[in-house]
Structures are given as structure tokens and as C-alpha cells.
């Protein structure tokens, strides 16, 4: 790891100012960034830890709206979010990872196999930053690509609590990330299906399944597997296998919601 300066501001405004420096980078829980720095895949001159910012903490539900601070850890989401999202968070990595890793860090990183992106798409979440609010549909822009600008901080996430939802994760047994993960939600805007781990374009909505499930919400209504074109193919699974898993996991999620 190359050396860097370390700063820990206590407000979002101070963090934004600290991140204005060239080569400064935000540090959430460090569960992705520290391993990245060790491999010298990034070499910021300054890390700005967001862990001391009280206004980015906390998970609360009021009037059917779930609000999660960008600095909330996976363990905090597992403890306090609505049940389907809590269950997703409770199954990220292992307990020590969940005690450090944050939802803001996961969404900023947008790993193609990360769990949260599928949920944000299915739940029609709003990603709140220091500068603006971004609809999930506009936020994810491909593997490791997001709508965030340089130095922009995810301060929170806002979600209308769904009528029903379920996440099915097919774990890659070594990394414990999702080989494929599918989040199905029944929302005020209809059924939404978010898929992670499968596509080379990163997390996406499976709109054919959404249309079918809006007609009839049952596992039998889930269409045949989506096309394998553009699906990830690697030593853990072929594109066709991943496409197949998308349909299977969607069925399981629908069956679980009932």
C-alpha cells in the first residue's frame, strides 16, 4: 500500500471540502477500498473517512419510508431495515465485514456481484448525495460505473417500504459474493425485478419478468431465462448458466413472497 494522509471530518460539508483536493478519496468501511489499496490498484494521496459523520448514520422507518444513512453498516441495516433488505444485508460477507462495510461504500463501488444494487433497482430507491437525489434507474451505469461525480458523497438512501419483497442469492462459495442475485419487490409502481451478478453491464432490471408478474404474480408466470448474450462468463459459471439462474432465482423469490 502506498502511503496517504488520513482525515476524519465530522460533517458532510467538511468531507466534501476535503475531497475537493486532487487525488483525495472517500473511505467508507474500507472492506473494498483497503484490499484495493493493498494491491496498489488505487493510490490516493488522501483518504477522507466518512465514519465520523453523525448525519450519515442510522436506519429508520417512518410513514412507510425507510431511510438509511450512507454510513450505515451492513450490520445496522440487518438489524433495523425492513425485513427483506435486512435479510439481504445479514448475508453480505461475514460478521466482521458487516460490522465495517457500509451501504454507501457498496453503492459507490457498484461491484457487478454486489448485493445492494439489485435491491435498489427493485425497490425503486432514491440515492441521496451531498448534491442531489438520483433515482436508482439512473444511478447504476455499468460495472463499477455510477452516476456519481468526482468527490460526490452518498449521504443516504430512501426507499418506500414495499408490500412484499425477497432476495435470492446464489453464492459463489469462495468469495461469498453473489454468483447471481435476484431481488423481487411488489411496489406501488408494480412488480420490479433487480438482478445482480449476471450481466456484463452490471445490475439490471429484468423487465420481461416484471411485465409477466404484473399480469400474474406467481412463480409459473416467470418467463423462460433471459438471453445469455452479454451475461458474465467466467470460471465460476458460463453465461448460459447465469441466465438460467436469473429465472430460477426469480421464481424462488416470487414463491417466497407468495
Amino acid at each position: 500500500m502506498y502511503n496517504f494522509e488520513f482525515e476524519q471530518p465530522s460533517t458532510v460539508a467538511e468531507a466534501v471540502a476535503a475531497l475537493a483536493d486532487e487525488d483525495a478519496q472517500a473511505l467508507g468501511g474500507g472492506q473494498t477500498l483497503i484490499p484495493t489499496l493493498k494491491q496498489r490498484l488505487a493510490s490516493p494521496s488522501k483518504l477522507v473517512s466518512l465514519a465520523g459523520i453523525a448525519e450519515m448514520k442510522g436506519v429508520s422507518i417512518a410513514d412507510g419510508v425507510l431511510t438509511i444513512g450512507g454510513g450505515a453498516t451492513h450490520a445496522e441495516v440487518a438489524a433495523d431495515a425492513c425485513a427483506p433488505l435486512a435479510a439481504l444485508a445479514a448475508n453480505i460477507g461475514d460478521p466482521a465485514v458487516r460490522n465495517r462495510g457500509t451501504i454507501g461504500g457498496s453503492l459507490a463501488n457498484n461491484d457487478p456481484a454486489a448485493c445492494y444494487p439489485s435491491a435498489m433497482l427493485a425497490l425503486n430507491a432514491t440515492i441521496v448525495t451531498n448534491a442531489r437525489e438520483i433515482a436508482a434507474d439512473d444511478y447504476f451505469q455499468g460495472m463499477f460505473e455510477t452516476a456519481l461525480d468526482e468527490g460526490e458523497i452518498i449521504t443516504g438512501v430512501r426507499i418506500n417500504v414495499p408490500d412484499g419483497a425477497n432476495y435470492q442469492k446464489f453464492e459463489q462459495p469462495a468469495s461469498r459474493f453473489a454468483l447471481v442475485g435476484v431481488f423481487v419487490a411488489k411496489t406501488a409502481e408494480g412488480v420490479r425485478v433487480g438482478v445482480t451478478g449476471a450481466s456484463e453491464e452490471g445490475a439490471f432490471r429484468w423487465t420481461e419478468a416484471e411485465a409477466a408478474l404484473n399480469g400474474s404474480f406467481s412463480a409459473d408466470a416467470v418467463p423462460a431465462a433471459p438471453s445469455a448474450d452479454g451475461m458474465i462468463s467466467d470460471l465460476h459459471g458460463t453465461a448460459a448458466y447465469r441466465a438460467h439462474l436469473v429465472a430460477v432465482l426469480t421464481k424462488r423469490a416470487v414463491a417466497a413472497i407468495g
Partner: protein
Amino acid sequence: MSQVTMTVNGKTASGDVEGRTLLSQFLRENLNLTGTHVGCDTSQCGACVVHVNGEAVKSCTMLAAEADGADVATIEGQANADGSLNTIQQAFQDHHGLQCGFCTPGMVMSAAALLKDNPKPSEAEIRDYLEGNICRCTGYHNIVKAIMAASGQDVSAIAAE
């Protein structure tokens, strides 16, 4: 270099660290607390698990600077005041929960974190909680057994390897 100060096993500890100094490195190299092991250094194995403000974390994946002001507990602070092994440690010994011992500090710290939140975990809950702690010797059965025993539960039904 900047100075960090934290409470480690109940005592105040300070030292000069670089931005990049890991908590594991600070514990081992500055404080000579080498009971915290570094097995992988890539956040996979859990040999480096310590408690920071009561929560299990991988100390190889946290900066020393992030622990400034925190209350840190390591394996060195786990024994009873008279030096005898605590309940979890004794159970590891009694049930052969270790062979080479490399993973043991992390296993014991993870077990302590589990039992704090869940004093009577089931076998499945123990296995699930230890997902991030890798042991290359024991095959895990005796570790699970030791943790069951430390929580005061009957272990006769768990297979021994």
C-alpha cells in the same frame, strides 16, 4: 506520521502511525501484541479478528487511524484476571478446538462476539457466524463443539473428527 491513542485490553496505548498503518500492524509491531495473527492480509481468513468498541472486525482491513479513540480487545486480554484461560479458551482446549493454533485467536474473538449477542447459539448459527474464519487444520467440528460447550450446551450430539 500522526499519533493515535486507543484503549487496548483496558490499558491506554499510543503510538505514531502512517496513514496506511493497519490496525493489525499497529497491534503487532507497535504494541508487540502478536497474538493477533495475519493469515491472508486480504480480508478472507479472520485470523486477525479483534473487537473494536465491542464489535468483531478484521484488523487487517481497518486502519490504525480509524481506531483512534476506540476501545480495542485482542486475544491477549481474554484470559481471566488470575491468568487462567477464560471459558471459551478453556473449551477450545478441552474439545481440541485447535491443532496448529494459527486461526485460534481469531476464532476465539469471533466466538466471544457471537456469544455476547447470542448466548445459546445453535450449531447452525455457530457455523454461519464463523463464515469469515478459516481453519486449515481442524475441519471445524471441534471448534463448533468448543463454542457450544462454552455456551453451556450439551455437545454430545456433535460429531467429533
